[in-house]
Amino acid sequence: MSIHEALLELADDHLVLGHRIGEWCGHAPMLEEDLAMPNMALDLIGSARTLYDHAGKLEGKGQSEDDLAYLRGEREYRNCLLVERPNEDFAHTMLRSLYFAAFMRPFWLKTLETSGDETVRGVAGKAEKEMAYHIRHAGEWVIRLGDGTEESAARMRDAVAALHIYTDELFESSPAAHEAEAAGMLPVRAEMRDAWDEVIGQVFAEAMLEAPDVPYPQTGGRKGLHGEGLGHLLAEMQSLHRAHPGATW
């Protein structure tokens, strides 16, 4: 176990969610959303790039951001399960982004305050503000759909039932994350609970949604145990680089 793996977990979260959101490009229900989706995806992929680059340098084995993104298999990916969940409908997509951004914003704010790693603080300073935009955008959609028509409200409730079981994993620290926390590089994940609850509670109250009790949270992503969807996502994302190693634009 090593400290750079904690950065890989973060980078994988951002790349996988960025890729998922990017799948909407050209398919979103209206022009504004078709622009918003790649915008949000770019924010996430931009953070992922710096985190991969930094992780590769800390590991010290000469792995570039491309090596880490394109040449690791499904079991080597360390993203949480939430971010790899399929897009389904707009209710699922927006709720997934809200859950993630409502966690990342306090996480990055705390990183800015406490991290001793300058590169990680640089990512945090930028991403904290971008996550505020993601929370607002996704939150407004969750409210609009949850407090919308019978159909949209039912879809929003389905999304909560499908995705809430994956949220506990956000607050769990792996052994690598514990190491990064002890070294003062990253904040303790569990400490983001109150800030997350506040944002989700505020949005759910307006959206007329209820957060369900989750007796059996779904976890395993940090150990490389993923759902079926991640393999398909990586196959698409990595095929070009694997067929033409080192290809550049």
Binding site: E32, L35, A36, A41, D43, L44, T50, G125, R136, H137
Partner: protein, 158 residues
């Protein structure tokens, strides 16, 4: 003019590829240009994490320095992160004249919910509404003026 000043002027004149009405100095992303053993080192800060123009901007600055007769190198600086507070007053005026509303509040003070009040760059009305948080580039949002009814871009405040 000293070499250092000449290098700064050459680098600073590079326009932003997506918002060409302002140059990189007015946008506040060109931090400084130093001469190190005869090499002009330009330090540049990206606007957004995933701004696709970052590389194009860096290449353009490097090319401008070479055209001015310098060996050039670019350093990407992440901390402290760029905020819209770094856009100069001249830059803000040029954005407005170009039809893009400049950022209205200080980047650090944005509230989580509740929209900023944005002034229409064409007619100056405060009666505007947000169409989308996200616009044609990572740095812009889409607004509409309720007085003159024109849609316009707003340079997002971060």
């Amino acid at each position: 003019m000293s070499d250092a000043a000449r290098a700064w002027d050459a680098a600073a004149a590079v326009p932003d590829p997506e918002v060409p009405c302002v140059n990189v100095a007015e946008l506040g992303i060109l931090r400084d240009v130093r001469l190190e053993d005869g090499v002009a080192v330009a330090r540049v800060t990206p606007t957004y994490s995933g701004c696709p123009a970052t590389l194009a901007i860096e290449l353009a600055i490097e090319a401008a320095l070479r055209d001015a007769g310098f060996d050039a190198r670019i350093e990407r600086v992440l901390t402290p992160p760029w905020t819209t507070d770094w856009i100069t007053d001249t830059g803000r005026e040029k954005l407005r004249a170009y039809g893009i509303a400049p950022p209205e509040e200080s980047g650090g003070k944005a509230t989580l919910f509740g929209a900023a009040q944005v002034t229409c760059p064409r007619c100056g009305s405060r009666e505007t509404e947000r169409l989308s948080e996200f616009g044609s580039t990572a740095c812009k949002a889409q607004y509409r003026c309720l007085s003159c009814l024109e849609p316009f871009d707003y340079f997002k405040c971060i």
